[in-house]
């Protein structure tokens, strides 16, 4: 096999100027990618992944350095490069008002696939992607997973030797993600294709033969994912204390000297230490005297978080979770009466039931997760709970009220943070805080006080005068959360609050959520990050508008245990549930 690199960058640099500010998207990036493997380009939002992809495809001109794909200079010989490689941009590049077949025809025309060869190629692609039954459907009407597969099929109408995929798995459900990986593995093995794939999902990195870790325009590390996780050997542990919730244990451990990472995972806490350690040393950590300590195999994510911490410095700004909740209402009678009750909730759009009979209860101080792929009905459920959408049938109560019909002051008891971190981009951080405080009727004095609290608590004081639109994604997320908490709500609704932010910001976020829950705030959160379900007290797994299961994460995982997978992940549990629901449906 020819081992000359199929994609090679030397000292690549690229900066963008927007609104008078210069952002260095890539800064001296060099790498070489082997042919015939899947290489992962891993990094948080804003790391420079898309810029790198576009440079490789000859869509941008580098400020410095060079990049060569398939032995051609991407910049100078861009037409030849573009004719030879396949590239799927972030939103799949589909024409939403064209049908599946029309999209395929268009790309076949553009790629110059001869008419005679088309029928066979389409057959292969449709078989591979499972879209054969949908060729007449408009691309805009496809689910996220189907769009992704169609995008891929369009890129593959004429098999390229190098395939560039820019975040192909964003917004796609776990089953579709697995199917995509199966397709990619087959392409690499059978057709000898080389693939460069960017992703923010760290678990996907482990499926790549090689990874390039990118952060803030620089390469942190490159190599086989196994070598990166191997570096963590002897530093990863599962700890648990009988009678203590893993979430509480985690709060105690995070931020302790010597601890790189602490994650609640079902009934235990996953601990990553700074140096190779042993159980005896660990037991000296606060709260771990009585703990059950077990060594576990390192994962890729451990290595990535460790790298980020050493490069960015510990995100040590976060104080103990309890400070955050200071001043929040603590009701003495924290009775077990449910705060959120949903019974037989249904919602129809046209002739399609987006939510089809959902029932659950959330107790006070609980973190309740709604888990499911795009289109599973979790956002619709969520919007009905917030009173943003009327229910077609069923009952729902939030703090004893249906928010859609309750007096407007009742809405003052809830906090809401949406997927897009909805902030007023052309207002400053301080103005956003002030506005949301006033929108909840806080008078001048209380407003100033809460504003001060938010700026210190969320470390936004330095940015108070900056426009919200100019903040980094992580800061936007913090500001959005601060805005949702200005009026000290009893119930917090969070819609995919962590999409796109880096793992460190996600950890910080969940620590705050834990603190709030411990102070008695009830939290309902939707997410499509399966591992985030681990941080919830209970999760409801949704698919096709129905709840497949509601339970504690550990119990859900336990139910998925099989001889084939003794230690199933949340994703395995999800896929098993979704598949069994499908077979039931087919049987019925």
């Amino acid at each position: 096999m020819d081992d000359a690199p199929i994609l090679e960058a030397v000292g690549l640099a690229k900066a963008f100027t927007a609104g008078g500010r210069r952002t260095q998207a890539l800064d001296g990036v060099s790498f070489a990618i082997r042919p015939g493997v899947v290489t992962g380009l891993i990094g948080p939002d804003g790391a420079g992944k898309t810029t790198l992809m576009r440079l490789a495809a000859g869509l941008l001109v580098p400020d410095a350095g060079s990049i060569r794909a398939l032995g051609l200079d991407s910049t100078r010989e861009s037409l030849a490069v573009q004719a030879a490689l396949g590239y799927m941009p972030q939103r799949f590049g589909l024409y939403e008002d064209l049908s599946v077949q029309e999209n395929l025809d268009l790309y076949a025309d553009l790629q110059g696939v001869p008419h005679a060869a088309r029928a066979e190629r389409y057959g292969e692609l449709m078989h591979m992607t499972g879209l054969a039954a949908f060729t007449r459907r408009l691309a805009g009407r496809l689910s996220g997973g189907m769009k992704q597969k169609l995008g891929l099929a369009c890129t593959l109408v004429r098999a390229p030797r190098l395939l560039l995929l820019d975040e192909p798995t964003v917004g796609v459900d776990p089953i579709s993600r697995r199917e995509l990986w199966a397709i990619l593995d087959r392409l690499v093995k059978n057709e000898g294709m080389s693939v460069l794939l960017s992703t923010a999902y760290l678990d996907e990195a482990e499926r790549c033969q090689a990874v390039i870790l990118l952060n803030a325009g620089r390469i942190l590390e490159q190599g086989a994912p196994a070598t990166i996780s191997a570096r963590m050997a002897g530093r990863t542990w599962a700890v648990s204390v009988a009678g203590e919730r893993s979430r509480d244990l985690q709060v105690g451990l995070a931020g302790q000297p010597g601890v790189v990472d602490a994650l609640a995972q079902g009934d235990h806490v996953r601990l990553v230490t700074q140096a190779v350690s042993d159980p005896a040393q660990l037991a000296r950590l606060p709260g771990l005297q009585e703990a059950r300590i077990q060594a576990v195999a390192p994962r890729f994510e451990d290595g990535f978080v460790d790298l980020l911490r050493t490069h960015i410095g510990a995100a040590g700004s976060l104080r103990d979770g309890d400070i955050l909740v200071d001043g929040l209402p603590r009701d003495a009678d924290a009775g077990e009466a449910p705060v959120i009750e949903v019974d037989g909730l249904r919602r129809r759009f046209g002739d399609f039931w987006a939510v089809d009979g959902v029932s659950f209860e959330v107790r006070r101080g609980e973190i309740f997760g709604l888990l499911g792929a795009n289109g599973a009905g979790k956002s619709t459920t969520f919007r009905m709970l917030c009173g943003l959408l009327p229910a077609s049938a069923g009952t729902l109560r939030v703090a004893g009220l249906d928010l859609r019909h309750a007096a407007s002051t009742a809405r003052g008891r809830i906090g809401y943070m949406s997927q897009k971190f909805s902030l007023y981009g052309n207002l400053s951080v301080g103005q956003n805080l002030d506005f949301f405080a006033s929108a909840y009727g806080l008078a001048a004095h209380a407003r100033a006080e809460r504003r001060g609290w938010a700026l210190t608590e969320f470390d936004l004081a330095d940015y108070a005068g900056q426009l919200a639109a100019d903040l980094s994604l992580g800061h936007k997320q913090r500001l959005a959360m601060a805005c949702a908490l200005m009026h000290q709500p009893e119930i917090l609704f969070l819609d995919e609050p962590t999409s796109g932010v880096d793992p460190l910001a996600r950890r910080e976020f969940w620590r705050r959520i834990n603190g709030l829950a411990r102070a008695g705030v009830t939290i309902l959160v939707t997410t499509h990050f399966m591992e985030e379900a681990e941080y919830c007290d209970r999760v409801a797994i949704m698919a096709a508008g129905r709840v497949l299961a509601i339970d504690e994460p550990a119990a859900l995982k336990a139910a998925a245990r099989s001889p084939g997978s003794p230690e199933p992940s949340m994703e395995d549990a999800f896929i098993r549930l979704a598949k069994s629901a499908e077979t039931q449906e087919e049987a019925a």
Binding site: R383, T409, R411, S422, N426, L427, F436, A439, Y440
Partner: protein
């Protein structure tokens, strides 16, 4: 207590809307500069008066009477002689080429006939491609010829016609069509700015996702509506005032009527404009849809308002359609107040329809705020 909280919420919303609109100096300029430029350009462009009629003279007669007639044309300020012809064949190419709007042809026997028979023909050939321009030019010619006739009759002691027309134009003695159009432009431009401000606000918030965020706060739909309506309304007021000043101080359009009545009309007009804008806004999902919606509303609204072509000239069916066009009523108010010196007494019939249109549109958009959320 609750009243206080309501006020805080409402003020915060209005404050935020203004910040969003006016914070950035560029967007402040966008609200003021283009309307002023448009007012100046369109104010000068939109006129049916002919200031400059290029014409050619083809006179085959060297007599005194013919010379006098030629002098009458040359002396008229609106006429500019660009060619003097010597053959009939020269006429057609000149008119065809649009070098001249008209040709005045005086035959060889003009002076002689006038002396001997008391009357002689003069031919005027007009380019009718723009029928309106042709019609106006012919009116100008007729006025010159009539004056010439009167002088001729007086100086030759002839019998004057038994009756003569004495024409007076009320409200606009010199029949300046600019006086007609500039108040109309005021109406049109305030409509454009309020529609653009309001039709895009909700769509913008929907696009950014902040609209949901607003709806989950204790703000009531009515309060959100008010918060969204007020900035458009105030900006319309300010812009209307600026244009009013330019119209009176720069273009010297007389403002004879009651200013309070004019502002009452402006307020109700803005109410209906804001209502229509918010209605479009609550239907639009993206700013682009909001913009197109506003465009699809404004073009008919202007054409059917009587801005350039009188409503009275439209067929009855179309006249009925204009009844739902708020600009129609406001244009009447503007012209009546500016030129006819009207006050409230005359204008009630124009005021209430706008109040009805505005009220219905606002109620409908308030309802849509809550019910069209996906």
């Amino acid at each position: 207590m609750t009243g206080n909280a309501t006020l805080i919420r409402l003020l915060a919303l209005i404050h935020k809307e203004f910040l969003a609109l006016l914070k950035d100096p560029r967007s402040r300029l966008v609200l003021i500069v283009p309307p002023v430029i448009q007012l100046l350009v369109f104010g000068y462009a939109a006129t049916f008066d002919l200031k400059d009629i290029p014409y050619a003279l083809y006179s085959e007669d060297r007599g005194a009477a013919a010379r006098d007639l030629v002098a009458a044309f040359d002396g008229a300020p609106a006429f500019r002689r660009v060619a003097t012809l010597h053959a009939e064949g020269e006429i057609a190419p000149l008119v065809d080429r649009r070098d001249v709007l008209m040709v005045v042809h005086i035959g060889p026997r003009f002076s002689a006939d006038l002396q001997s028979r008391g009357s002689a023909p003069v031919q005027v050939i007009v380019d009718g491609r723009n029928s309106n321009t042709a019609l106006i030019a012919l009116n100008y010619v007729r006025a010159i010829v009539e004056q010439y006739d009167r002088d001729w009759i007086a100086s030759h002691g002839l019998q004057a016609p038994p009756a003569r027309l004495e024409t007076r134009a009320w409200f606009n003695p010199n029949l300046e069509s600019r006086w007609f159009f500039i108040p109309g432009i005021l109406g049109m431009l305030t409509l454009v700015v309020t529609m653009l401000v309001t039709a895009l606000t909700v769509a913008r918030e929907r696009e950014q996702g902040t609209f949901d965020q607003l709806l989950v706060t204790p703000l009531r739909p009515g309060e959100i509506l008010l918060g969204k309506a007020l900035p458009g309304f105030l900006i319309g007021m300010i812009q209307g005032t600026v244009i009013l000043l330019i119209a009176t101080l720069w273009f010297k359009v007389p403002l004879l009527g009651s200013l309070p009545a004019l502002y009452a009309g402006l307020a109700l007009f803005l109410l209906s404009g804001v209502g229509a804008g918010l209605l479009i806004s609550s239907l639009a999902v993206t700013q682009q849809q909001g913009l197109l919606g506003a465009f699809l509303f404004m073009v008919p609204a202007v054409i059917l308002s009587g801005f350039a072509t009188p409503i009275a000239n439209m067929p009855p069916l179309v006249q009925n359609i204009t009844l739902i066009d708020p600009l129609r009523y406001f244009l009447v108010i503007l012209r009546k107040v500016f030129l006819e010196g009207a006050g409230f007494d005359v204008l009630t019939s124009q005021l209430w329809p706008m109040a009805v249109i505005g009220g219905v549109a606002l109620l409908l958009s308030g309802w849509l705020f809550r019910h069209r959320l996906y």
